[in-house]
């Protein structure tokens, strides 16, 4: 991998893309074997992996829109990376098809025999029915794809030459996109994950999911930049000052995530109503308890303590460790949300969990790398680029 110093373009994207594609294809073949051996396990594993990898695209979309809305300066050097994350969404949309095909295995409310005997779900069929579910999923992805394309197109136009109109349209797109983003991710998490247990509901679930999205994304983009710089790409462009800011955001969202997670738990604990507590009961049973402890300590307490000082936020080795740690925790968090609906009395980690993870991860990274290496690695037309490169805290 080499970079052209003047245009900020990769002159040789290297073999990374091919490796990701091979990993994705191999994972997909193995997952297919998994589908034939245990379809129910396959669909649940697939759902967890799918949601996990889609969150990074969503994080990219959010970060890009936020950058435009707050007129960000320091984050200009990261913008193209976050836009490349966002541009994985159109491709990842294809991978939602197996979930729609596996609806009957995943969601009790889509099985007519179950609904016939379940009074509570009968009352919810106005929302939870096959047709509306599919329409909603298509709508979410349409919103994300449309706004990703719009933002990316304007961004490439900016590379050719900056005009004030470009800044205006970036802000307009982001303002509308941000509102639709909030609704779409909330209902996306309601539909794909919360409705696994159709009796249970939590209005803060969407905010909890959002905390995970942004935390996962921030960890991924920091790790991605660090790995790029290990290969001498963008060194001198992304500096420790940018990592410092990213780490501060990670620290903030570790706390945000914990705050939301505790708020959800706390109200249900206080109310102590069986239909609400059941969800937590399943997640505190048998070996799921271990997952619960891992999430409390690993997703909150450990990163909170490690990232507290300024020195650790400016230490690349520490940042790399925290990012890998949080990416693992983010997966465990989603696994903990999805899989207890299949294994109610204890965790059974299956090999299909790993193959679906590798399959979707391989394809995600392939799309990410292809998009990222095709265009300049930083928005070269942005008038704030120099200010961002020379940014100090």
């Amino acid at each position: 991998m080499t970079i052209d110093k003047d245009t900020y373009k990769l002159s040789n994207p290297g073999k990374a893309g091919k490796m990701f594609l091979v990993a994705g294809a191999a994972g997909a073949v193995l997952s297919l074997v998994g589908y034939f051996s245990d379809p129910e396990q396959f669909f649940h594993s697939y759902l967890a992996s799918f949601v996990y990898w889609v969150t990074f695209g969503l994080g990219g979309l959010f970060f890009t829109m936020l950058h435009h809305l707050v007129n960000g300066k320091w984050s200009v050097v990261l913008r193209r990376i976050s836009e490349s994350f966002m541009m994985t969404l159109p491709y990842m949309a294809v991978f939602v098809i197996p979930i729609i095909l596996g609806m009957n295995e995943l969601y009790h409310w889509s099985v007519p025999e179950v609904v016939a005997e379940d009074h509570l779900i009968q009352k919810k069929t106005g929302y939870l029915n096959d047709t509306f579910f599919i329409i909603r999923i298509i709508m979410y992805f349409m919103v994300w794809i449309i706004f990703s394309f719009l933002l990316y197109r304007v961004s490439l136009k900016e590379d050719a030459g900056y005009t004030d109109n470009i800044l205006k349209s970036q802000r307009k797109i982001s303002a509308i996109g941000m509102i639709l983003f909030a609704f779409s991710i909330t209902y996306f998490s309601f539909d794909l994950m919360m409705s696994l247990d159709a009796h249970w509901y939590s209005t803060i679930y969407g905010a909890y999911f959002f905390g995970g999205i942004l935390l996962g994304f921030l960890a991924f983009i920091s790790l991605f930049s660090l790995l790029l710089q290990k290969n001498n790409i963008l060194s001198g462009v992304i500096s420790i000052e940018h990592y410092h800011d990213l780490s501060r955001l990670i620290f903030a969202f570790v706390v945000f995530w914990a705050y939301i997670a505790f708020s959800q738990y706390f109200l249900i604990w206080y109310g102590n109503i069986p239909e609400e507590t059941l969800w937590y009961l399943h997640r505190w049973e048998g070996s799921w308890k271990v997952f619960g402890y891992i999430i409390i300590f690993g997703h909150f307490i450990v990163p909170f303590i490690l990232l507290m000082t300024r020195a650790s936020k400016r230490n690349p080795v520490m940042i790399k460790f925290i990012c890998i740690w949080l990416l693992v925790m983010h997966y465990i968090d989603i696994y903990w949300l999805v899989l207890p609906s299949l294994h109610e009395h204890g965790a059974h980690v299956s090999w299909i969990d790993f193959t679906t993870f590798i399959a979707l991860g391989g394809f995600f990274l392939f799309f990410l790398w292809r998009k990222f290496s095709a265009n300049p690695l930083v928005p070269v037309g942005d008038p704030k680029l120099d200010a961002s490169i020379n940014f100090t805290n």
Binding site: F262, Y265, F266, Y270, N272, T309, R310
Partner: protein, 180 residues
């Protein structure tokens, strides 16, 4: 006395603009002075580095205090709810740490905020109703368009004549001696 005089607070010099003040601060720092201060109508970016100031220990002090605030907040509720006046609330155990969390969190934030304010003032040597430098009538410009450096007599390198020469060599105007 080696040119030192306990009656003298320090030497004050005026500079033309924020850029000059920043450079003068760097030169003063490089000349080995450490007990000096810069005065300007507004904050100047990069001044901390130019003056060679260390990072404030405030964060560590507050972290230390917050640790005890958490312990204090939680044990207050534990003592009140489980020891002093045990009361069954919606069938929960007396020691329900979940219910202690919001109050523990709130107390920690409140105590940390109050102590941040108080400790910040203390570290800055505030409140300070009078400062010897106010005796200079020229110094009144500091709230408008005056930029000053004052090297204090407590500095180990301080010498009335030499410090005056030094300040004029780095571009200081209206140099005057401030008495205590």
């Amino acid at each position: 006395m080696n040119g030192k005089d306990t009656k003298i607070f320090g030497i004050l010099a005026q500079f033309g603009d924020p850029g000059e003040l920043l450079q003068a601060a760097e030169k003063t720092r490089d000349a080995g002075y450490s007990k000096f201060d810069c005065y300007s109508p507004f904050p100047i970016h990069g001044m901390d580095d130019a003056m060679g100031l260390r990072r404030s220990p405030l964060g560590y002090i507050i972290a230390f205090i917050s640790f005890f605030a958490v312990i204090g907040g939680l044990s207050l509720q534990w003592y009140a709810n489980a020891i002093d006046y045990p009361l069954v609330i919606s069938g929960k155990p007396f020691i329900s740490y979940q219910a202690y969390a919001p109050v523990g969190f709130g107390l920690t934030v409140a105590i940390a905020a109050i102590f941040t304010f108080v400790v910040m003032l203390a570290l800055n040597g505030l409140p300070r109703p009078h400062h010897p430098i106010f005796s200079s009538s020229n110094f009144e410009k500091v709230t408008d368009d005056g930029f000053f450096i004052g090297i204090e007599s407590g500095d180990s390198k301080f010498d009335t004549e030499k410090t005056k020469e030094f300040l004029s060599s780095i571009g200081g105007k209206n140099i005057e001696t401030i008495n205590n």
